[in-house]
Structures are given as C-alpha cells and as structure tokens.
Symmetry: C2
Subunit: 418 residues, 2 copies
Amino acid sequence: MKTAGNFQSLTLRAVPEGRVVHPGTPLALIEGPLALAQLLETALLNHLTYPTLIATKAARIKESGQRQLLLEFGLRRAQGLAANAGARAALIGGADFTSNVGLSHALGLPPKGTHAHSLIQVFLALGLSEMDAFRAVAQEYPDDCILLVDTLNTLESGLPNAIRVFEELKRDGHQPIGIRLDSGDLAYLSIHAAKQLDAAGFPATKIVLSNQLDELVIWQILTQIGAEAPRYGMDADSIINRLVYGVGTSLITSAGDSALDGVYKLTALHADGIWQPTLKLSETSSKTTNPGHKALWRIYDDRGNATADLITLSSENPNPAEGIVLQHPTDPHKVRQLAPGICTRVEPLLQDIQRDGRLPAAMPDLPEIRRQRDADLAVLDPGIKRLLTPHRYHVSLSQSLWELKQSLIASSGNPKGD
Amino acid sequence: MKTAGNFQSLTLRAVPEGRVVHPGTPLALIEGPLALAQLLETALLNHLTYPTLIATKAARIKESGQRQLLLEFGLRRAQGLAANAGARAALIGGADFTSNVGLSHALGLPPKGTHAHSLIQVFLALGLSEMDAFRAVAQEYPDDCILLVDTLNTLESGLPNAIRVFEELKRDGHQPIGIRLDSGDLAYLSIHAAKQLDAAGFPATKIVLSNQLDELVIWQILTQIGAEAPRYGMDADSIINRLVYGVGTSLITSAGDSALDGVYKLTALHADGIWQPTLKLSETSSKTTNPGHKALWRIYDDRGNATADLITLSSENPNPAEGIVLQHPTDPHKVRQLAPGICTRVEPLLQDIQRDGRLPAAMPDLPEIRRQRDADLAVLDPGIKRLLTPHRYHVSLSQSLWELKQSLIASSGNPKGD
C-alpha cells in the first residue's frame, strides 16, 4: 500500500484531557487519507488507551479514599517507560503528587515521598538507633518531615520515637508533616497512631498509608476505621481526614485490568464527493461499529447532571428545546425520550487536536485539566462512580444514526467476524 | 543526603538475559557507595522486573501453544512506551516475531503481522468484494501472503475465497503462507479451516489464531481440538502443528499479573574494613531479607536437570564432590541433602554487568540469549513449567547463610515491619 497525502491533510478530534469518559464514549475521530489514517492506528490506540486507563484508576482510588491526598508511588513497578505517561495520567485522574522526581520537575510539581526503611537499617547497622535516624531526617527536612515508623515496631518504637522528634521540631518552631505506615494492619495502626499523635498534641499531622493499596483495600480500611474507632474513644472522621495514600503498583499498572480494550475502526469513506458510511459487523452486537461521519455530545439534565453521551451523525445538531431521543446502541427497545426542558444543555465533547497539521493555539495545563475533571465528576450521579457494579452511564445513538446502522446491518447479510 | 563516589565505583552483578529465574532467585546484586546504590533502586527495579515479567509470560504462552510459532501483537494495547521493552522481553521469553515494526528493525528481525479487517471494509464500501481485497493482498505480498478470513463469514466466504487466491498464487509459482482467524470459536474454526485447506491441497499453510488469547485460552483451544478433531476425521496433531498464535494485550501487559513485585534491599554495609550484614525483618517470614554479602549458584542433579538455586555467602564455594545442603529460606525443618554424586554441577548465576564503570566486552545478542533460554528450559522438570499451581523450584540458602540469618533475627528482637 502506498501512502497518499501528508500529515497536514489529517484532522484529529478528541475528547480533551480531564474529561470523564464512559464505556462506549468515542475517544477520538480521525479524518484523512486512508493510508495515513491507517498508519496512525497503533500509535493513537497506545497513546489514548493507557493514560485513560490510569486516569480512571486514579479517579477510583481518589474516590475510595474520600478525596484525601493521594500520592503516586509507582515508578519502580511501572511497566518500563510507561512510568512517566502513567504518573502524568494519575495526576490528571486523581493523584495529587507523585514520587517520580523527573516527571514532577517537568510538570512543575514538588515530588512527594518519604525516606526508606534502609535509612533506619543503615543507622542500626552502624550501632546507632531508629531515633538517631529520625533526628537525621528531621535535621535535613525540618519543615517537610515525614517519618516511616514501621521498621522495628510501629506502636512501641517507631511512633513514640517519631513523636519525640516531632516535639523537638515543634520546640524549634517547625511543623512536622506526618508519619508513614507501610506494613501491618493499616486500619488498626491508623487508629492507634492517631490516638498517640492526638495525645501528644499533634492532631494535624498526617498519617501516610502504603503497602499494596488499591481502591478496594482503601475502601475496606476506611470501613473498618469507621467501625472500630469509637471502641477506642476516637472519632473515625478525624482519623480518615488526616490519612494520605501512597499507591504504587496497582495504580501505575491498573492491576487487575491492565489494558483498556480500545479499537480503531473505519466508519466512513469519502468517495464520489460524499461520506459513504461503512460498517464492521460482529457476532457480538456491542462490537458492531457505529457507521458514518459522526459527532459526539454530552447531555445535561434539569439538575445540571450529565445524563448521557450522544453519538450523532455530523450533520445533526441536537436541540434541547425540541427534546432529545436517546437510542441504546444495540437494543431497539431501549429508547429514552428527554422532553423539552428535561435536557438543559448539550455540549460538544470533541475538540480539534490537529486540523490541517496545526495544533490548537494553547493546550490546557495541569491545573486547568484538573478543574475540568472536578467539574465533570461533580455532575455525575453517585451510582456511576460506584467501585463495584456501577450504574451504567448511557452512551446513546441519535435516531438518524440508529436508522443508518440498522439499514447497513440489514443490507450486509449474516453478521460474522468480531 | 549528599552523594559520595561516582558511578565508576559501582559494581552491578545480575542474572543474564535469557536465564530462567524463579520466585526467590535474586536478579541482581549491587555493590557501591550507599547513596549511589540508593539512587539506583527505582531505575533498577523498573528495568529488571518488567522485562522479567513479560519474558515469563511469553514463555508460558509459548509452552501452552506446544512451542508453535508465537507472534507478539501488543504495541497498540501496551502500557505506553513499555511496548518496546515489552516486545523485546517477549522475543527473549518465547515470542518468535513481533508486529512492532520499529523494534523488529532495531533487532534485525522481520516484523510479522497480517492485513486488517478495514482493508476488506474499504473494498466492500467501494463496491468491490472480499475476493478483490484478497487478490490485492496477494499481488502485493505474493510470497508472504496471509489472509484474514473472518470479516464476513469465515467458513462460507473468507476461507473459500482465500483458497481460490491461494490456488492462483500456487499456479503462478508462489507459496501462500496462511490464513488468520480473529473471532468466533477458534477451536471449531481451526478444525474446519484445516479440513478445507487439506482438501484443497494446502496441508502446509498456517492457521494464525488471535483474539484475546493468553496461555489458558490457548491451552483450552488445543485441548478441545484434541477432543473434537477425530469426530471430523481429522488428526489433531496435524492441526495443532500448523497453528500460529498472535498474542497482544495479555502478553505485553501480563494481564492478570501486571507487575513482578521485586524489592531492593540493603543486605550488607562495608564498615571498619569488613562487610557488616544487615537484616530487614518482616511479620511475613518470606519478606525477611537474606543478610550479608552473597553469591548465587544453580545446582544440577545427576540427570543434568536444574534442581535448585542456592544463595550463599560470597566467601563460600559449594563443592558437588562434598555434597550440598539446601536449606529452605524460612522453614528450619525443610533441609535437602544432596549427597556427593547427586549434584553434578554448580554454576555461578550472576555475571558482571558493570564493574568499576566498565561494561563487559560484549553483550550477548538475541540468538545467543534465546539459546540460553532454550538450554535453561530444557533442564527444568515439567512440573515447574505447569501453568497452574506449578511445582515450586527450590531457591535455597546455604547453612552458613541460614545460621547468619537466624543469629541476626535472634538479636533483633520482635519482628515487625514489612
């Protein structure tokens, strides 16, 4: 196959970074010479799916931690060089900081982490003590002091020693940041660490949790703190509100779901001056493509909540004042009618990333991307954000698109292929 | 912390590429100034664990496919830039070729893949046929022709059309390579595709399988071909021996096990002219480190099979003529005595990767690495290679190392930390 045209003749429209997407939301539409568009398939899928996967995982973890501070700790366990794109995606999806120093520098963020167990080990091997190690950390980072308290015995050694060093820092006019728990029963230890810190006059110091965390482990830990804290005369919320999560392997590799199965399909061919819709049939109905030259919209309801994404033909312009019909992509009987007034806003979701070889004037920076993320998350019904068996957000077709799809299926004969 | 020394003062010893490793086999030992060695932690873990993970996954898939040709198809679904390191690791572990064009070029291998469904779609949209599309492929690649036969109907359209094009190629003196099945019941379709190809006089053309494959899916497909082929008058082995596997997502991301949980621990400190062993205790016995300045050996038995890896102190030199004692790393009661004559060979496993800033004269190339892999796999008992609940290969301690570990644990008090 010979390539025709050049990259100036490509138009790439995509859902911008920070926008929340759902199963079925198209991430990008590409228009250009066939051979060039085909060449892009692999690179685009790689660049769109992995960051979307990790941003989603970060959003889930942030949600499970009740939106407390989340640190990305995955560089050492990332899949090779995915570490950087993964950390950036985590920062977009829900992580506040990363321990990845290079990426933090590139994004203008301070890196965040703690000292290692090996620091304590070195002091011990040299005949010094855990306390000596803590004092050395405090001397080097008096205003940024986080102490890892589980090298010897968390409640009997690490924590009392940390509190002593915190008292010394406080006496010298510094504000200690917190402690880190990296092993043992994190729910039990959080309660007792909070109790000891409160008693010593450090109710504001943070408790950083790490050790094979993911959204389900965090959820369970918080549930157990909620149930157990009152037994020890503690208020669960005051503990939960001081927790910080350091999440490595599970976040950066999206453990359990290591890939987002994105596909790249031909949906229309420009021939004889018009867009000729094309269809890829499959025995699995949900894998049959949506044909034609298309547009993508987000529909907001009368509470201002995002209620569906709507895929239309590019010639359509959905109008809330006329009411909107949402057709399920495969089931003819699932049709939602949004009467005029129910749908308050229709927002186009795709933006130009490249048009005629040019990038848009300015790409949004990380704070702007995160504002978009927060805005999108705020208008989602809670059921959509449930960690297990979430309510499914509707990604629907317009009636015109549905009818085009049905007529192409009918004229294609027996569906096969996948 | 201020760094001391420079990278010339580091020595890095590692298990070379292509060597088979097991849970517990140390991958590398690093010796150098503390601060420098600490700086290396993250990069080394990242560079050692991900390729080891993917090479292992490739070896498992290759094994499940009865060592038939395995193609790595993961670039589009890889975790970002991990695609290249992942494809190279797959080629080391068991994949024969990759569809990653750039990496193939870098390694001097031909890339391997097939045309896409969209090629057929384009022909159909232009009023042409699947047969026209196949003829176009055959014309462009007469000696490298693989046809994807599942776009419309595999057995009724794709396969008969492919056979017609293969007959045309044969008439013109070319040898067609094969067909690819990317959907549907791959066991059933393999049997019937083989039957049709045999009947048409193409008993040697390959059948490439793809579509969410991994080692367990392949294992099931082969089991079902074994059970079903005779019903259709076919010999199962003749089918299995012509299969080729194209594996993408599961291989390049090691789906289900997306990270190898490697750790990097301080085990000795050079102070006062001697190596002072250090210990990191854990509530989980298997996470308590093996202390001291160490060496690593592979032990072969009287059948020539690898029977254990042995971690010793670096001052030890295990001698098969005297017999060898293998001590389980955590259970004092699990001791294996290899009498003189049982152990036929003791091989040092670590090689210098960097000594005093210098790399070894020559690094092995891919064919050499693969020869090492084949040699290592050939001397493993089959139970070790079982896909589910494999027999565990012994990674043992010498008695001197065990005694050192016990004495350090005893003098450390109550184990805590993880």
